[in-house]
Amino acid sequence: MSSPAGTLRVRGTVAVTVCAGIVGVAAVTVVPWSYHPRIHATPIWAAILLALSCVGELAYVRMRHGTSFEDLTVYEAVVVASVLLLPPAAAMLVPLVALLAASAILRRRLVKTVFNLGSYAASTSAMVAIYTALAGGQQPFSARSVGAVVVAAGAFAAVNLLALATVLSATEQSTLTSVIRAEWRLSAFMAIGNVALGAVAVALAMQTPVLLPFASLPALTLGYAYRAVARGADERARTGHLVALGGMLATGSPPERVLLDVANVVQQAFDASAVRALVPSRGWIVTVPDGADRATGQVEIVDADGGDELGMVQLQLVLGQRSGVPGARPWQGKPRRLSDSEKALLTSIVQMLASAVGTAVHAHALREETAKLASVVENASDGIVVLDGRGTVVLWSPALAAITGRDASTVVGTRSTRREPLSTLAEVLGATVVEALPPVDLTKALRPDQPCAAVALTVRRPDGDERHLRASVSALFGADSMLQKMVVIVHDVTADERLSRLKNDFVATVSHELRTPITPIKGYARLLATRGAAMDDEQRSRALRVIEDRADHLSRLVDDLLLASKMSVDGLGGIPMDLAAHDVVALVRHAVGGVSNIAERTVLDVPDGELVARCDPTRLNQCLTNMLTNAQKYSPPATPISVRVWSDDEAVTIAVADEGRGIPADELERIFHRFHRVEDPMTMTTDGTGLGLFITRELARAMGADISVVSELGVGSCFTLRLQVLPVAASAA
């Protein structure tokens, strides 16, 4: 009766059964039956039969129907005796009164009592009516009356079976016919047994009452048969539960879930009112049903050593409280004890449970570990590819997808046609190997005793992009020394290689830049030392002038290098700034004056008054000098260099424009990068370290300013520096 719909069906069935019973009782009592006057139809016999019916109902054997139970009794035998001995109305009423009394003693639930009364009223009235109608005025145990009692008992069993099947089909959610198919043999067997028992008892009582005790023999036989049937049903149900248990243990659920499922099954299989499953070492306690009061029943503890680090797993069963209203004492107050076979079974279950919980714990740990590894693979910046022994890709990490431009979904499962691991790798990566260092044959290099190798690879992707990769190859060999798996961790060093090339270029540039001024310095110094006396005054003074000028140049170069290295190490924090309000116009004039050979080319367009902005005058001068010398360097000697200064509400802007060769559009941002030069350092036509604009922009930013550039090839370039205007209060101060 799990669902509301099921409950309604059961109630409907009970109502119909009760109605049928009332109709039956009414029919039997109202119809003026003609029957053979019963010889023993006395109140004493009625009382004896009442008592026997009651006892017959109380001595039941409980039989399982899925989750519900049916009580198998010898009540029907007493009904048969009543029908044979009592007048129709009494034969019907006596068993019903006995049934009511037995239900009261057993404290059966009201709905069950009402159903039983209705069902037995209907079946008994049918039996009484059929027997009386068929036997007519015949004596008991004439051929006709025996035939009548067999037919009547058959009708009794049929009506009972129908009522039982109807209510079971409602509670078990199965069809009426399937229940009847499953139950008809038992009903027929009960009918025959009860007719035999009832008839034998009556015959003995009528002929030789002294032999009556022997009538208990068929009763015992019947009871024994009932027990066998009930045990069979129990075994079937238990087998079903154990099969379910096997399924549950194999699901790979979390350990706590396994405990709960097993406790539920054990509760049903052993008909326990509560089950607790405990794993003391883990502190797990699972109680089924949740919150059951263990004090109401006996707790039987079955211990089993799990045999692993989990230690002990326990199952505690609360047995004995088998029926009745929760809280009310059942009549068989004695707790049920587990039989030896049940204990053995339970011990096996506990052992299985312990191993299942152990497995579940390991599986859980494994899943967590796997998840951890998966997240490592997911988040690793290095690409990871795993190939099986036949070169099939089984794992392709997201980083590798980024490096190769090929998604995991398109690669996993594909198989290389190559045999040599390096070619396999290249094929898998979708690239051709340009160069491999060391140029090893991995088929030979990877051996069970030396399963790792590192290779620096230069590969070309299908899109022509060349990548520098560092691959760590680890091979896993099986017992037969056959390659089983190859794990390759691919580190993309293309960016590092580019940076390294940039640095090499920078070193070449810097060494050239440093050596260039040293040549005249050292040369003139040596000349003065060895041939000074032979030189005339003009030669000597030129020599000294060149030495001084080149030394100054060197010193500026070294300053730039130090500044740039400070910027790279400390960021802007490394450059001390002395920010205050200064007249930018004056600073621009000063900067132009400081660059040699530029004054005559410069077209100055500045306002007459002051333009005050926030800056560090020394650093601003450095920026302006860089901008001016760049304009000078990268434009033909005779062309003008225009310097404009203007202001708006927010900024004072300085623009330096030349009419030089211009800068390619794709270089416009990169010219501000450290070490970057538009020209190849080996063939460049102008000197410079590639640091000027980098330093200028970093200094400008440190002053809260910014530098930008617009340029057109062959027309010229214009660099613009915007300095923040100070707030009025600050500038006044």
């Binding site: 005249p520 000349l527 030189m535």
Partner: protein
């Protein structure tokens, strides 16, 4: 008195070489680029050329290759004066047909010694 053509884009280096050579009695002409050097050689071949390698436009190696491709000038003594002292650059200079490869910064006495040696070789070859 022998004439020397000094080719270098760096004016300070040109003036240094000029001073060194003039003090040793050479007649010096200057060219500030590879192109100028070829023009100068064409107009009046010098007895010897002292030439920088890394120059804008035509490099010293380019000019040397051009000179060596001309039948009249293939024996003209050329001394390369380069800032690049790595093996690769040195070999490139020698392979292009330089008679001498000196690296900057250079010793003025070494330069004049080599020039003397080259002129002697030249005289012997004649």
């Amino acid at each position: 008195m022998r004439s020397v053509l000094v080719v270098d884009d760096e004016p300070n280096v040109r003036s240094l070489v000029r001073d060194v050579l003039e003090l040793n009695g050479y007649q010096v002409r200057e060219a500030s680029s590879g192109g100028e050097a070829l023009t100068a050689v064409d107009s009046q071949p010098p007895d010897c050329v002292v030439m920088d390698v890394m120059m804008p436009g035509l490099s010293g190696i380019d000019v040397l290759a051009e000179l060596r491709s001309r039948p009249v000038l293939d024996a003209l003594p050329v001394l390369l004066l380069s800032a690049a002292d790595d093996d690769h650059s040195t070999w490139a200079g020698w392979r292009a047909g330089a008679n001498c490869y000196l690296t900057k910064p250079f010793d003025p006495d070494m330069l004049t010694a080599w020039l003397l040696r080259l002129s002697t070789d030249d005289a012997q070859a004649d």
